[in-house]
Amino acid sequence: MICCKECLDLLSDYIDGDLDPQTRADLEEHFQDCPPCIAFLNTFKTSTDLCRETLRQVDVPEVVQRKMKEFVDQQKQKKGQFDPLAD
């Protein structure tokens, strides 16, 4: 039977689906007998999900998109006049 420390060390691999079937079964056996580790797992997973979603909400503001488009076009125009590959 694995202890709480071993259990918490494996949580990222567990939620990412990276554990082999035997280790996964050992971990789930531990969860059955250990409510604090279940609570830890639930809060760990939820906090990871919320952080992930928050980081992925970043959008490029429209004004930046427009500026970048202008910038890209400028570079291309310059390249039309010179040969930047000779840079």
């Binding site: 918490l8 639930n42 809060t43 990871t48 919320l50 909400q57 590959l85």
Partner: protein, 209 residues
């Protein structure tokens, strides 16, 4: 994303790079379009500053324009772009005074002699979906990510923020797979502990309603 898709994307991107290297300017448009959002998001999550993220994006697009012909394909093109983005971001961060990081060790789980964890845990994990739509939550989370030590922060942002695979992060940062996994896990443990008081309070407020 499956390995096959990754491989197809990688080949399509490298075909674009070859076209650009051969002088096809429309290929550069496509490269800029594919990477603009990734560069901006990575830089914004690292700096939490829109102006810095904009500067970094422009600088990286310029570097890609000027240096794409030096790309030799020893590693994936995308890994090269992420490395250039991180270098430009670190240059920005270096010029700024940073708040001292919170000690990561203090926020890792603690155990008694028999290996039992010692934290008193309230399970606040139910009904947290609405948290995602609150600006306050976003700020609290971004601030906590910002307090991560640099080594853990960059792994966490690339893996969970940009959604790169463990293998890809290991390629970009030139770290072993176990090192990437260990840093990612420590980052997630830190964030859980750091954010727990906020989520607990939210949970009890909801229960009272």
């Amino acid at each position: 994303m499956s390995f096959t898709q990754n491989k197809e994307t990688k080949e399509a991107e490298e075909a674009l790079v070859r076209e650009f290297q051969a002088g096809d300017l429309t290929a550069y448009d496509k490269i800029a379009e594919i990477y603009q959002k990734k560069i901006y998001a990575l830089s914004f999550n690292m700096t939490r500053n829109a102006m810095d993220a904009q500067d970094v994006t422009q600088e990286v697009l310029l570097t890609l324009f000027k240096k794409a012909h030096t790309f030799q394909g020893k590693s994936a093109f995308s890994s090269w772009v992420y490395r250039i983005t991180l270098n430009a971001t670190y240059m920005k961060l270096r010029s700024k005074k940073k708040e001292p990081n919170v000690s990561l060790e203090d926020l890792l789980p603690s155990y008694n002699g028999s290996g039992y964890q010692q934290e008193k845990i309230q399970d606040w994990s139910e009904n947290t979906e609405s948290l995602l739509f609150a600006n306050e939550t976003r700020e609290v989370i971004q601030k906590a990510v910002d307090q991560l030590p640099e080594k853990e922060k960059v792994v966490f942002i690339l893996r969970d923020g940009e959604g790169l695979s463990t293998e890809k992060v290991s390629d970009v940062l030139e770290l072993t797979i176990p090192a990437v996994k260990s840093r990612l896990h420590r980052a997630r443990l830190f964030l859980r502990k750091k954010l727990s008081p906020y989520f607990e309070e939210y949970h009890s407020r909801r229960k009272k309603k």
